[in-house]
Symmetry: C2
Subunit: 261 residues, 2 copies
Amino acid sequence: MNKLIVIKIGGNVIDDPAALKRFLTAFASLPGSKLLVHGGGKVATQVAGKLGIETTMVEGRRITDQPMLDVVTMVYGGLVNKQIVAKLQALDVNAIGITGADAGTILAHKRPVKDIDYGMVGDIEEVNSGQIQFFLRQDLTPVFAPITYSAAGDLLNTNADTMASAIAVDMVLHNEVTLVYCFEKKGVLANPEDDNSVIAELTPAVYAEYKAAGTINKGMIPKLDNAFRALEKGVAKVIICHADDVCSAVEQGAGTTLKLS
Amino acid sequence: MNKLIVIKIGGNVIDDPAALKRFLTAFASLPGSKLLVHGGGKVATQVAGKLGIETTMVEGRRITDQPMLDVVTMVYGGLVNKQIVAKLQALDVNAIGITGADAGTILAHKRPVKDIDYGMVGDIEEVNSGQIQFFLRQDLTPVFAPITYSAAGDLLNTNADTMASAIAVDMVLHNEVTLVYCFEKKGVLANPEDDNSVIAELTPAVYAEYKAAGTINKGMIPKLDNAFRALEKGVAKVIICHADDVCSAVEQGAGTTLKLS
């Protein structure tokens, strides 16, 4: 079966040009089929500020009214996405930068209002894995900005971690999938104070213990919940590592590898 | 031979949501293979202004320093492009919004400095018509933002008229191509004061007369020069018309049709 690596990079890499360059060079060197999902970083907040649009975050999620959606579409879908694509092209990776709206790759619906009105935020309905596979077969490397669309033709801001997980799960139809979350630490830490206390393997049972002890904190919980769900749905391997370690994580097991048992 | 319609819309359509909606509905109804190239409109200048970046135009062309390139990438490559794509998806057109950097579709180089330093502006070197044809064969409708890239991995601001013409010319390899420039008039006018004085057919000889008489003005000259070059290089038909008339122009000859003789 064809192997596919789905990698998500977050804002900390995007906000640091030197780190982004290192990451993209490493990404370009990974053999075989791969695709990238990127987050946004601070640029959206900075641009919004200069445009006089206030940023409101609830539990790490951006409240997205129409003006903020426009900013997100500009910054994630335009600036960040196209800069990554042009840099990958120069590294001989035939990248194609898209949102979920492009080629109908990821359909979503506006998140229903419960306690919080997140605004123009999308919950994923369907990943068109056939379309993504068709790009991969042509040696194209999709680079996804964290934006989806609704059947009514609205763009929707969508969490990049969730998007990477949803893509990985759907691509299981065609591939043996490895999902890699790159972030600012070397992996999931047993001791948040010690950057070298990386947990090499994490099972749901061990995860539950760390959660109960409070060692694994708020921001990590949705990331790990997403990651374990991906494993349950057939993703072969999930790795959480530093962006600088992406090659050694994929090839030699650096970072934290999640396992079902 | 397969027929392909290449349509360019300018800023006047993009700046007017109602006009854009009418155009996209008409575009969606056109049968067969088609692709869209869009300009930018005033949003880039507005966003640049709010971000404290000054806009300098020389003979209708935007001087593009790095901060302005970032704005253009955000607004053209992000906001405008993705809004069009999402709206086309809702109209059952499987649109894919790209720049020249995506899938390596349009390679350019930075314009050499002669009298004027245009900055990060691209002159097109090569259109990858095979890649574009491959999208069309999969019933995808490419929507191009007027941005290209260099081999060194820089994004470059590129005139949308020139881009449409270059794409049309290269697609001649695979298709019988009609190139349509939509703008704010009903066609090329014999009398600039009379919106109904549309010249139904324009040959190089007649064009030369109108140019000599000063009837055809500055902004139209590069557009028409581009258009005649496209005909010389094998494009079957070039039409200049109002965005509202795109269907009748393609199907019944509204607007101005350019002919070599």
